[in-house]
């Protein structure tokens, strides 16, 4: 997937992840991205800066 788009998705997911802890109204959108990325072969991880990032499943070692 295009790097620019991945970075956009990471940014949006990170915001939704934060908002979901405050209100469950955001659960649906967050789950949608999560599920979509999993289908595309990406898995969500929390990086050292406490941000959500998607990592290609076969790339993680």
């Amino acid at each position: 997937m295009d790097r620019k788009i991945i970075s956009k998705i990471n940014k949006m997911f990170d915001l939704l992840y934060d908002l979901e802890s405050k209100h469950d109204l955001f659960k649906e959108q967050k789950d949608y991205i999560d599920e979509f990325m999993l289908i595309k072969g990406y898995e969500m991880k929390i990086n050292n800066n406490d941000k959500c990032v998607f990592i290609k499943i076969q790339d993680k070692k």
Binding site: K8, K22, K40
Partner: protein, 182 residues
Amino acid sequence: MTEKYKTDYIKGQIQDLKNNIFFENESRKLLNYLTPIILNELKPYLDKQILKSGGGFLKKINVNNLIDDRIKRFKVNPLNKTDFVTIRAYLKVNMYSISLDLSLCFNGGNYEDKTYYCVYYDTVKYICDIKGLNIIKFYDYEELKPLNVIEEEKNFLKALELKEQYETQLNKLFYKNKNLVR
């Protein structure tokens, strides 16, 4: 979404929110009342065996009876004037923790027979960690403050507005990049 549908939807959501805050606050009151009593009863048993090997409390610490006794003296406000409230609370024990399970049933019926005219509210509060048969740690106890309806309603409307913005952004991101969805 038509404007009328949207207004009705928001109205319904706000009514649900108000009811939930009411249930939450009643349940918080009860938790604030019961938790110190339970902690006080269990504190002498830190690092000591509290459970029987087959499960369940050792007979001499019958906390559930104490809870039943205290609940009789506690009054939960009904949602509507004509409702009556049934409370069920007990300490639940598993291999790792002891928690307080609380159910409030408003508007008639009883909690065994979950009938449609009842409104239920369930809460779980973790009291302590156990390992083997011993208590190893108590959770910090702090008094839960009641939620403010006006404040929560404001937060809800703000969240609803943000949700719409994110939906638009999601649509732009995913549907305008059709190769992503394929």
